[in-house]
Amino acid sequence: MKTFKKFLGGLLLLAIIVLFLVVWTALPWQGVVGLAIALAVWMVATRRGRQTWQVTRVGLSTLAQRLGSSSVVVVGIAGVVGVLVAMLAMSEGFAETLRASGNDHTAIVLRGGSQAELNSVLDRDSANVVMQAPGVKKGASGRPIASGELVVVADLPRKGDPNSDSNVPIRGVSDDVWALRDNVKIIAGRKFTPGLRELIVGKGAAGQFAGLEVGKSLRLAGQTWTVVGEFESHDSLESELWGDTQSVASAYRRGSSVQSVTVLLESSKAFDAFKASLAADPRLKVDVSTTQAYFSKQSEALTKTLRIVGITVGIIMAIGAVFGALNTMFAAIQARAREIATLRAIGFRGIPVVVSVMLETMLLALLGGIIGAGIVWLIFHNYTASTLGANFSQVVFQFQVGPALLWTGLKWALAIGFIGGLFPALRAARVPVTTALREL
């Protein structure tokens, strides 16, 4: 009967933990603040609460004596939160860079089944048909605002590593690109001159790869090109070098064909009509998507992989940290066993003891979470990295350690603290007073 009761108790505890984790994951920050306020009110207003506060104070004041073992909780949790936040920041940064590259009022047209610009080819006639389709916004001169573009890849060394090769995308764009992508701003030098072998470089590319300063020249496809300007757009286009479509096409012997056509739509509502008219045109076999859909799709796979890896690594590390916390807190309540027993002998009930031990663990956990998230924020916020993107070329992106991620990190820390504190707390409240007092 006794073992059965014990078993039931264990089951109940497990259910509580699972329930806590489920609720905790779903809880928005307002809920957590509410909980904290409720706890504070309880501790001030009720007798039990005031007892809890007293017990907690005693626990915290003896913390200095247990500095070594308490730091295990703090450092362990800092490690979990740090790794988790860093991985998620990478995933978030990459997704954000590509998300910013697209919007719902520009559309990109590729040859059917191409998936990425690098694989696509559209001949001049098809490109013209696309530009004249209904729904495309016309400029002042009555010409459609559209850009027939080429993307080729050049091998350039990374900064500080002259022997490395990185596939850097070079995009040939047409004159209308400035109206089409109005977020692109020249921050140094000037725009390239159509017809000349001139390039402007994105800020990201200029930061990552060597020899792209304004005024420098570089060899592409056996010809010498000059960098005449640097631009900024806060999206994945910043990883690119831009030149005039005709010049790039002649250098890479592409004739009059282009790889993609990007058009400015009259409004986001015009997309469906635009797509339908191209689909109905027997001369064309193309894929049409908004730039938003196109770029989001490119980030999908990598973002998902990074998230899964980050969370898996986080969970395994969290298991390690939970057991580390358990160890520390069991040792802590054991060191204070007589003190806790004395409190209970003079009339303190179980609840204050349980809550105080848990509060202590969760405070240590919170400290760990803040340290871990803080270190990652200091090192990695806006840290620039690059990887291979869909066009078989480098996409430069920045780690994004935003408030939402920091909050996720803290929530993980508190959850670890909760589980790591629960068992020792129950043990502290359960040991028979007489046994504890008699122990040496």
Binding site: N119, S166, A221, M317, G320, F323, N327
Partner: protein, 388 residues
């Protein structure tokens, strides 16, 4: 060894504490096993089979092709045993998610990549079938392909002459990768360059190849031959860059990102925490047993035996947890690889990982045991027994 039962008893003196510490160690080494598998999945530069191979690509970019005529010129360079050509096909099977590493290759390709092991009759069948394809064992398993299957592969780049982007292939051979081959070797799909040229909508493709692979008579000639190959096209409109296969692979893996660095950083954080955690456990264990250790010394154990016993205890703790953790990684990694549907091509936890893991266990065990062990050794019997 005669003290083993004593060490064992000391280790499990407090079962709960030892158990908690073991789980933490286990988690750390499980992570180590899994991450090391990930790292080696991206680290294909380590294969020794390819030391006598060079890769010649366009100097300006991997997407630019090279003229067919260059092949004969390369072959004439002394020290070159054979020259093969390859072209990227960019194939997908049925769904864009099912990307297939597919190449149109010259017929001598399999002599150059001798780690691709194909039964002679299958090789013969391949030579006699225009649309024949040879696929790796792992790839065939991933899509359930069998010998004799007719499969359509869609190219993201090349349409056929009739405008259709779906190319039909006959699977005539399934190869295995020789031991020691680069990771992922058995995930590839090869077919005739001739078929690729003839049926391609881009007729100019017949005069170009994507890149050349060169097999050398001796790996020592690599530098000289590489220079000679690049000299052939110097100052032309198709300048080349020739490098060893290892250098080529390494630079490619680096483009994806420095996986090694990320893994090392994570493991650094994990092991730092682990040292602190087990160090704390050991310190507690020794502090608690002060009087027992004093008794041991009183009945004649030398200070050094006590030192070694405490050290052995911490190393044993690490080794038990670590071995279970790595074994668990050995079970989980294949499951993850299988669950990803062949997308994530993780090698099983290998000897190298085990060796590195064992070294780490011993080193960390010694580090965390050192301070408590020294403390135990220096114990003054009288003070310790008196509880001072």
């Amino acid at each position: 060894m005669k003290y083993f039962h004593l060490i064992w008893a000391a280790l499990f003196r407090r079962k709960a504490r030892t158990f908690f510490t073991l789980v933490s160690i286990l988690a750390a080494f499980l992570l180590f096993g899994m991450l090391d598998a990930t790292r080696s999945a991206f680290d294909s530069g380590g294969s020794v089979i390819g030391v006598d191979r060079l890769i010649t690509t366009s100097r300006y970019s991997i997407i630019q092709s090279l003229p067919v005529s260059l092949g004969t010129q390369i072959k004439a360079i002394p020290g070159v045993k054979d020259v093969g050509a390859s072209n990227w096909f960019g194939g997908i099977y049925q769904d864009p998610k099912n990307f297939v590493l597919s190449f149109a290759v010259s017929d001598n390709y399999f002599d150059i990549y001798h780690e691709i092991q194909l039964a002679p009759e299958q090789r013969k069948a391949y030579e006699n079938t225009r649309t024949g394809a040879i696929v790796g064992e792992a790839l065939a398993k991933r899509f359930g392909w069998k010998l004799g299957d007719k499969i359509p592969l869609q190219s993201t780049i090349f349409p056929q002459r009739n405008g259709d982007k779906t190319w039909p292939f006959d699977i005539v051979g399934i190869y295995t990768a020789a031991p020691g081959a680069a990771n992922g070797t058995d995930q590839q799909f090869f077919f005739h360059h001739k078929y690729f040229e003839d049926a391609n909508a881009f007729q100019s493709i017949g005069t170009t190849v994507g890149w050349y692979v060169i097999r050398l008579n001796s790996a020592n000639d690599a530098d000289r031959v590489a220079k000679a190959v690049d000299a052939l096209s110097a100052n032309s409109d198709h300048e080349t860059k020739t490098q060893t296969e290892q250098a080529f692979n390494a630079s490619f893996a680096k483009q994806i990102g420095d996986i090694g660095l990320i893994v090392t950083a994570i493991m650094g954080a994990v092991f730092f925490t682990l040292i602190l955690l087990t160090g704390n456990t050991m310190a507690q264990a020794v502090r608690e047993r002060t009087s027992e250790l004093a008794v041991l010394k009183t009945i004649g154990f030398s200070s050094h035996s006590v030192l070694y016993m405490v050290l052995a205890e911490s190393v044993l703790l690490l080794v038990i947890g670590g071995v279970i953790g790595l074994a668990l990684a050995g079970v989980i990694v294949p499951i993850v690889a299988k669950g990803s549907g062949g997308m994530l091509n993780l090698p099983p936890v290998g000897t190298q990982t085990w060796l590195l893991g064992l070294v780490l266990m011993l080193v960390i065990g010694a580090i965390v045991g050192a301070l408590p062990a020294l403390r135990a050794m220096r114990l003054n019997i009288v003070d310790a027994l008196a509880g001072r």
